[in-house]
Amino acid sequence: MVNVKTILLTLALTGTATAQTTVEFWHSFGDAKRTGWIQARADEFNKANPGIKVVPSYKGSYNDSLQATILAARQNKAPALVQIFEVGSQLALDSGAFQPVSGIKAVDFSDYIKPVINYYTIGGKVNSLPFNSSSPVLYFNQELMKKAGLNPKTPPTTYSGLLKACQKIEAAKLGATCFGMSLNGWFVEQWMAQQGASLLNNGNGRQGRATATNLDSAAAKNIFSFFKTLQANKAFTYTGKLEDWDGSDAIFTNQKTVFHITSTADIGNIRDAAKTSGFTVGVGVLPIADGTKRNGVVIGGASLWVSKSVSKAQAEGALDFALYMTNTKNMADWHKLTGYYPVRQSSIELLRKQGWFTQSPLQLVAFNQLTKTVPSPATAGGLNGAAIQTRKIIEEGIQKVLAGQSVDAAMQETKARADAALNEYNANFK
């Protein structure tokens, strides 16, 4: 449907003009699988729209790509379409280099899954189009669970449940640590949201610029204390390097941990790796702090931003391509290929009709967790321009707890450092 509209629009645009509109698309997927998928969608789109030429190219990590975009924008050479990670959203917004996609032309956003579109809606405007999205889930080694006398059908769903399971695993002497994950601020953001607590003040940074973190709250203390208990019980392991996704996945798939938390986008890879390693992986909801209702998860991943300095034809071409790439069918395919959520309700319907969830029941847990999310500023996710830095500060705080520091001291230091980073960022606007 979008496609037909696109063609009509393109015809109207290029009716008189002979010049082809080039749409540069910078993304951060370096692997052949995902690069190839994006290129194939661009080829299809270009074929259907002779007036537009979408040129996707990989521009390094999210950070490199964001910086390259801004540098290029200053020379008026910005790419029309850029994939930017969620944590850089406020920064991208503040850079003034992009225009809200909802301002380019009327787009019906009602099909997008709520928590996803909420994240990218700021001040009533949809700034960027959701693309690759994920949330964290619990992965578990079913065989090791059974050996420890645990039932893989009822994986732990709370901190205390996990800690209790850890005692059994410790007692069973499996030669594996109970639990492991990559230390990433993203998980802390999730655990705050699950408790319905905002990470930042001023409506999680969505009503006004965030000026302080809520890292001294009871909700935050639950999270830090959880790690303290894990450390005290020797029930936790990781590679020791922060944000080491691959390393932590490898520890789990080599059966050195029983439980593991990481993104839903890894379901396919971990399932395959588990198969070669000789165990069956199970997926459960993200275990959360005790005594709170499950408020849901914050979306992670990246979205597609349209540059401000490009011509109207380029902006529209960019948006049309972004919409084409994220249409119902393509998002369903994207999900099957990568494990990222399809960001559209209609794609989930399509997948259901195709019987995908009976084939891959693991994914169902992830979907339910996402679709059951209660909309609120907490679950929309915190926004701040220094988020890359504050995320690292939070990780370092947890690392200190794991190294033996007291919860209170670590929290106090972490809050002080994160708040200082916010103030320093905000000083740019004085």
Partner: protein, 292 residues
């Protein structure tokens, strides 16, 4: 006896105690020490070599048995990740930078050694100080300059020209020239030979070892370039191999480590070829003296 030895000792490369003096008994200690050291030094490389032959799911496991997947891994990076194209670009970059640096440093050294001119000290200091300003530190300003003022973004010039001057090269050639007897230059001048002719006819033929040595260092340096090409090149067709390799790693949690290892092994080959080809010059080039 010492007199006879003088002629032969330099360049033979064997010094130290023990020659025919009945200390052979301790030679095995030397062998052992060297073998252990080489094993330790090579361990990470052997590891990479083994891992590059394993299928992806084995690469992250502690398995140390070679597998049979090297060519699968390689074709993955060569075709899908366009490593072949990047290797070509990196070769263009490395060869141009190496040749350019050699020519420019030869000229600069010629000026520093064979001329007396005002502000010579200042000029030399300026060359020297550039050693301390790595691209990483200057990248933002450099980007503005190259893309905005020079409009070189997306050209080979952007990744080649900024690196053509070489402080190291100028030092080494200057050092080498200073060890060439002045009488040679005097004679050349009396014969009516100009400085450029002197450079091409006399100095360069006498400098092959230094040139070869410098070439190895510069080639490896250019081959390892990463952050600058990443930022300045927007067109994928001109991208270099280290960026290509890093893109295999930074794919957001789905790294195909078998492919990365195969890629890493392959990208080591050109520097190794240069290194092996110029090994003699490389070893001698840094130590040439008036004896040669």
């Amino acid at each position: 006896m010492a007199r006879e030895l003088r002629g032969g000792a330099v360049g033979v490369g064997q010094v130290g105690a023990g020659r025919g003096r009945g200390r052979h008994g301790r030679v095995w200690v030397t062998h052992l020490a060297l073998i252990v050291a080489i094993l330790i030094i090579s361990a990470p490389l052997l590891f990479a070599l083994i891992k590059s032959t394993q299928i992806s799911s084995d690469v992250l496991s502690p398995k140390l048995l070679p597998g049979g997947a090297f060519f699968d891994n390689l074709s993955g990076v060569w075709v899908d990740a366009k490593l072949g194209r990047y290797m070509f670009n990196s070769t263009v970059l490395a060869v141009s930078v190496t040749v350019g640096k050699t020519i420019l440093s030869l000229l600069a050294a010629l000026a520093f050694v064979y001329f007396r001119f005002p502000l010579k000290g200042l000029a030399f200091t300026l060359v020297l100080l550039s050693l301390m300003l790595p691209t990483e530190v200057l990248i933002i300003a450099l980007f503005d300059l190259v893309s905005q003022d020079l409009k070189w973004a997306d050209t080979y010039a952007a990744i080649i020209v900024p690196f053509l001057a070489s402080a190291t090269g100028t030092f080494l050639f200057r050092q080498h020239f200073m060890n060439i007897p002045t009488s040679l230059a005097d004679a050349a001048r009396i014969d009516g030979c100009g400085p450029l002719l002197y450079l091409t006819r006399i100095l360069i033929p006498m400098s092959w070892n230094t040139i070869g040595a410098l070439a190895v260092i510069q080639f490896v340096y250019a081959w390892d370039q990463y952050i600058w090409p990443l930022v300045i090149l927007q067109n994928d067709d001109k991208q270099v191999v280290q960026v290509g390799l890093r893109r295999l790693i930074e794919v957001g949690g789905q790294t195909d480590w078998g492919a990365v290892m195969a890629g890493a092994i392959v990208t080591m080959i050109p520097p190794l070829i240069v290194f092996t080809a110029l090994q003699k010059q490389f070893s001698r080039g840094f130590a040439l003296t008036e004896d040669k």
